[in-house]
Symmetry: C2
Subunit: 301 residues, 2 copies
């Protein structure tokens, strides 16, 4: 999985700080997650192929997470897009987008599908033979979902030497990769586990922004490879978390620790802090494997 | 008048080209004209004081002229704005903005007034003791207005020496500046024109974007100091003007010449041209005083 951070700062855009948007590349897909104002410019800046984006996931309808969507949809039209585009987001997103297209007499010339969300329990949004995408209900001032991208386990790996020794015919190799026991040339049943190895561990990515400290999500994100969790504040501003429904770096790290994730990426920093290392330092007191999101940064896992 | 170009490129935003937005500073006001995506970032980049903007004029509801408005309105709220904000734009703009604020549960905490436009004849939008602002109905694919900013004539200038010689009492000087004849210390009537000079010529600025070549506007913009006129295409793409309702550089220059303006500024260039000097060259064949808008450029007149 390759994650490109297009923007990771909270609320008010500044000259060199972009609001939330990121692109996850996995299994041949390019998924856009959130779309703050200026996202289409960031996509160009980091040379991400617009046309390969078929699915856009919007966590919630605060401006710093979705005001860039209408511009992106309009630009797709100007560029002559033909491929369908799927938008997943809270109920109301369809009306907001279609009203603006209508006012500009700018109907799209490509299929545009809205998948509106209003459930408070995890929903399966997408599934193909290689991965699933599920909502992670969060705790914010408005209806908000995170998103869990989970690769399906790959095929088992054939131990060629062991298969030959067991006198298994070549034609059974695909069955073996799929996990079946087979019968060898001598008519004897060979247990799959004796001549195959476990597949590479499948990767998973959980995007959780915006949210208050919300332990309810822990079972769902248990042992994910990478967790992006918002850290709007440092503990010195803990008192702001409750009214704004945001988290501290320590809160995010506590979630990461309890969920036993491999890596935690922090983002959605409030503009009041100049030194982002303070976020890393605070989180590291709880959980070691901490990374800081920055606009333009790429994470591969 | 001081005009700052925040963006002057058409349609699709690119990494270093911004869609239409400009700020006109005159007589103590800061007027924002159009508000494409990313305008708030451009305002920051060019260090323009957000809080001084009280009036925003939106020409039409195509994305490259108004998708930045919702973000700006939201940011004003986050910054704790208290001063009122007036939005002038086509009918429908209020619904588009308020729907998005509602979806994000982000009502403004400052007075926000919409002045929706649907007239096909010039409307007076703003007047104080120093200037007027009037719509300039244009010819585009959707309902579109340009805007005419016109300073009122200043006071007449006192010719102090002549006033003294004419034996006019000091207490009459204000009356003289206002254009009245006065009676001198000897009881004789003194004609205003004999002891005052004409005021400085008043400045005016006409913003005309987007529009096809539209001579109907000429009487209204006659002899303005500065005309910003869109030039989306060069003559080589004249055939695109009719279906898209845009102008060429030559068309813009013809309007400038017929209207006898002092200076023409071109903008709204299509992304298909790399060399903007081609626009200047084409326009200069018709009208000499041509300037090219560029993001970040400041014009004082």
């Amino acid at each position: 999985m390759k994650l490109t951070i297009l923007g990771c700062h909270s609320a008010t855009p500044r000259a060199h700080h972009n609001p939330t948007a990121q692109v996850l590349e996995t299994k041949g897909h390019l998924f856009l997650i959130d779309c703050g104002e200026g996202t289409q410019v960031q996509l160009r800046r980091f040379k991400i192929k617009f046309s390969r984006i078929r699915h856009v996931f919007i966590s919630h309808l605060h401006g710093d997470h979705f005001f860039g969507l209408i511009g992106l949809i309009s630009t797709f039209r100007l560029l002559g897009r033909e491929a369908e585009l799927n938008i997943y987001g809270p109920k109301g997103i369809k009306e907001a987008i279609t009203l603006q297209l209508k006012l500009g007499k700018s109907w799209t010339n490509y299929p545009l599908y809205f998948h509106e969300l209003d459930s408070d329990s995890p929903q399966l949004l997408f599934e193909d033979d290689k991965l699933t995408i599920t909502t992670i209900p969060l705790d914010h001032r408005v209806y908000t979902n995170g998103f869990l991208f989970r690769e399906k386990p790959g095929e088992r790996k054939l131990n060629i030497d062991a298969a030959r020794k067991a006198n298994v015919d070549l034609s059974y190799y695909n069955k073996l990769k799929q996990g079946f026991d087979v019968v060898n040339k001598d008519g004897k049943t060979i247990a799959n586990k004796d001549i195959t190895l476990d597949p590479d561990p499948s990767k998973s990515y959980a995007f959780c922004s915006d949210t208050a400290y919300y332990p309810n999500i822990i079972p769902q994100i248990k042992e994910v490879t990478t967790l992006y969790h918002e850290a709007t504040f440092l503990e010195t501003h803990q008192h702001l978390c409750e009214p704004t429904k945001h988290s501290t770096a320590r809160g995010a790290a506590t979630i990461a620790k309890k969920a036993e994730v491999t890596t935690l990426i922090l983002g959605h920093y409030s503009g009041r802090y100049d030194d982002l290392e303070l976020f890393r330092n605070e989180a590291k007191q709880v959980f070691e494997a901490v990374e800081l999101a920055e606009d333009g940064k790429v994470f591969e896992f």
